[in-house]
Amino acid sequence: MTVTVKLFGMLRAQLAADSDLKVQLDQGCRVEDLIAAIQLMNPDVGDLLLKRKILVSVNHEMAHGDTELTSSDEIALLPPFSGGSDTPGGMPSDVYR
């Protein structure tokens, strides 16, 4: 199945995408499989996902690694919010483009 992943902020530049990313996954895949697929596409972003510096939301709620995905889910990668999540030592604070 193909899932569509929404991208925001600095992630669009990092993944060289406009607003959505299409990812091919097997049926019954979970968020952790999506992260593995993205890591193959961009190891830096994959590492930030594994460290939870970038979060995954599914249908407007924060998802965990074992959250199962379907092709109709609304999935998004969420870089740190501008208000700050106080996550130390994560993503570089700035990305120039």
Binding site: K6, F8, G9, M10, S57, H60, E74, A76, L78, P79, P80, F81, S82, G83, G84, S85, D86, G90, M91, P92, S93, D94, V95, Y96, R97
Partner: protein, 147 residues
């Protein structure tokens, strides 16, 4: 105006600027029991992390941002002794000095209004998917976090 319409007006993400007086009156008019109204207004400043900033652009996640703001309003109404809460955030290009975000809390007494107002803006910054891009002399900078 129906209750549903009124509630929708109390949590908004919008491009256009807002009138602080109108928004305060929106809360004031909800109840004659209100005896104190606390506000927080966030505005665009021209300096950030030792860099000059000439303009700020806000991006948000349509749907999820509004959902999180509604959750913040609901929790504030539940957890604090307050009567009404309004949360409003702008998106798009915002010039220096312009309004960005407004929290208005009406309560019987000021202490509760102040406490809830501070909690709302702190929570907004933690859980609401809104991103800030600053225009600086070095280019555009996506801001990870701000106090």
């Amino acid at each position: 105006m129906s209750t549903v319409d009124t509630d929708a007006m109390l949590v908004r993400v919008q491009r256009e600027d807002f009138s602080i007086d109108e928004e305060i009156n929106r809360v004031r008019n909800r109840s004659t029991r209100i005896g104190g109204i606390a506000t927080f207004l966030g505005t665009a400043r021209d300096r950030s992390e030792d860099r000059d900033v000439s303009r700020i652009t806000f991006e948000y996640y349509e749907g999820m941002a509004q959902k999180k703001l509604r959750e913040i309003r609901d929790r504030a109404l539940q957890d604090f002794d307050v009567i009404e809460v309004l949360i409003l955030h702008r998106y798009g290009d915002i010039d220096i000095g312009e309004n960005i975000v407004l929290i208005v809390v009406g309560a019987m007494h000021r202490a509760d209004a102040f406490k809830a107002c501070k909690w709302c803006i702190d929570e907004l910054k933690q859980i609401t998917p809104i991103w800030k891009c600053e225009q600086t002399p070095d280019g555009q900078v996506w801001v990870e976090q701000h106090p």
